[in-house]
Symmetry: C2
Subunit: 389 residues, 2 copies
């Protein structure tokens, strides 16, 4: 049920002492026959060294292995940090090649992903032995251990599988803070034994991310390290149509995204913001994001307060097409606001559960979109004020 | 030391039962001889009824009185809410005219400002008697009571005075949540006995707000009700130069803005973000705002954690001109980040006090700007999750 479910992949997760306890280094290897891949990366202009490296690897067109570590983001570490990433890839390539003399893997075919505190160098004397141990431990059953090794503040590993006709997509992800407008230290590796060229993978991955990870917005904070990779081994011998591939990748991304949402730092509510009646999908997304990022709205939901006025005020900060006196707002099925003013009694709204659905109808067109977010809780403040100390 | 310090103004603040206790209705009257004014209003497209009304009054060019109430924002209340505002202005105009037969005041010369919960109608049977009581109680000493009547979650009234040569500017404000990019339910009334035309007042007020209220950003939430008014009586007989007027108005705005910052909901830190080395002032403001609104940065400061990596990640979300490997970050005088990587030891940063100064040098040009914000604390979450319940 993870990255090793599709044929052609092995993985491992081992403890290397980067975190205080537990596995913290993972390796995922594509044994082929193909080694095509695609990647989606953070939109932050301050990119961690492993992101800069892995973007180059993906552009190179051949991706045979991914090394991932928790316990340190290797972001804002300057040229020395980039050298550390390069060294990690070279070391992994060497270790993999020495165990399989038929296949010489180059550093430029090894992606690197890191997650953890920003601004500190990785402890290479611990990381490299960890990489060696992971390469030694690679197995067809190693997906679960790999998913565990990439956890930071996650309370549980996240894995998924989506099935095609004779081929599958598997995946793992980490991320407890979240994504916006691309991601917030989330890492995700998807694998498939389908036969697929780089272009088909790239299209499927972008489509899959667009309606899943890119529509999660826990706090509007954008990470330096976010990376989503899709590796294809071709081991099934079956080439799905682009639509089939996109559907399976999208299903895998959606499943992992909902797992990220459910495990978001300190959240007590999982909030779906359904925006309808928008003049365009971009408008719907802009409105959804504005509501998702509004601290007053988020704090109100933490307090079980159906404060639709704050929602309307958040909508009012956008440039989307709408008339203030035409907007309807529903919370968990109760239309507390019609035509921009109070409607059904707010006391009818039941916010006792963890799931919240906000519906906003702009009455400005046919487009719609859903953004997922969480509430702003004491636990969020606690986790994020105590993280590095 | 408030709106009644300049000659030509009377004020009052009375309890009308809109809040559970204390004064909640204020009236400020300009007795002239002039009645010029200027106003700055929320940029939110969802504007409260009193904002829509008062914008018209200011455009009319003659402003003789301001009625303010706490205990209800009269926002998202539809046509009925606008009618309530109109009724309030008419009622105040009638009450004022009946007490001074020489001066007939029209409703279109009366501004209305409201603050409190969004989405509920004002209790007019209590508000109108409050307006009558306030008009009866108007006095040259009433400024302090008026400042008290407009408080909501404020823990103390905010008043100020700035002195010209033979004329003064007085002011009062409320606001504990804050302003961004214009305001978050802040109300401010400034008065002056200087002789000044509408255009001079407008220029002075816009300049004064631009570097004060508009650069406070506690949580990025923009209110439906924010209003800053400047009324001139001309009672001193002295017409300052535009520069003199702007300097005094700016000083008054800055003083009130710093009082808002100090009283921000649940804050344990007052944080000045000084951005230097920017290619333009707009770039500097964009960078400062991105840092000020980043929940991870704000939570870190609540935890006394000099987490400069989060600051750099926030800078990376902007479109400002800068190179990631050229940015320096200093916190309370310690340059923890130079050229985009770790520099001085973060343990040297003393965050024990309430005042924090973050300096960000983009090394991309000569422009600079300061944005003021607060931390993200448990008390912020508490106050904003319990507000309307």
């Amino acid at each position: 049920m993870t990255v090793t479910t599709p044929r052609g992949f092995r993985a491992a997760g081992v403890p290397a002492g980067l975190k205080s306890a537990g596995p913290d280094v993972a390796v995922v290897v594509n044994d082929g026959p193909d080694a095509t891949a695609a990647g989606v990366f953070t939109g932050n202009r301050v990119k961690a060294a492993p992101v800069l490296w892995t973007q180059q690897v993906v552009r190179g067109g051949v991706l045979r292995a991914v090394v991932l570590n928790s316990g340190g983001a290797n972001a804002c570490t300057g040229p020395a940090g980039f050298h550390d990433t390069h060294t990690t890839a070279e070391y992994a390539a060497g270790a993999l090649s020495s165990r399989n003399p038929r296949l010489l893997i180059g550093a430029g075919e090894v992606a690197v992903c890191s997650t953890g505190l920003i601004g500190e160098r990785l402890p290479m004397p611990r990381l490299l032995p960890g990489v060696r141990a992971a390469v030694r431990g690679l197995s067809r059953d190693g997906g679960a251990a790999a998913a565990e090794a990439i956890m930071t503040t996650d309370t549980r590993p996240k894995t998924t599988v989506a099935t095609g006709t004779g081929w599958t997509v598997g995946g793992m992800a980490k991320g407890a803070g979240m994504l916006a407008p691309a991601l917030a230290t989330m890492l995700c590796v998807l694998t498939t034994d389908a036969v697929a060229g780089t272009e088909a993978l790239d299209e499927a991955l972008r489509a899959g991310c667009r309606l899943s990870f890119d529509r999660l917005d826990s706090d509007g904070c954008m990470s330096t390290n976010d990376t989503v990779l899709l590796l294809a081994s071709g081991a099934s011998g079956i080439e799905p149509t682009p639509d089939e591939l996109t559907a399976a990748v999208t299903a895998a991304c959606h499943d992992l995204a909902m797992q990220l949402l459910a495990d978001a730092e300190g959240a007590t509510k999982e909030i779906a913001i359904d925006v309808a009646g928008a003049a365009s999908e971009d408008d719907a997304v802009e409105v959804g994001r504005a509501v998702a990022r509004n601290n007053l709205v988020k704090a109100a939901f933490f307090g079980n307060d159906p404060n639709w006025g704050r929602i309307l005020a958040a909508v009012g900060t956008t440039a989307a097409a709408f008339e203030p006196d035409a907007v309807d707002v529903g919370i968990n099925g109760v239309w507390v606001c019609r035509s921009g003013a109070a409607a059904e009694d707010r006391s009818k709204v039941d916010l006792a559960g963890r799931q919240v659905t906000v519906r906003i109808d702009l009455h400005a067109g046919p487009a719609e979109a859903t953004i997922w977010t969480t509430d702003l809780s004491h636990a969020y403040v606690h986790e994020n004020s105590a993280y590095s100390t």
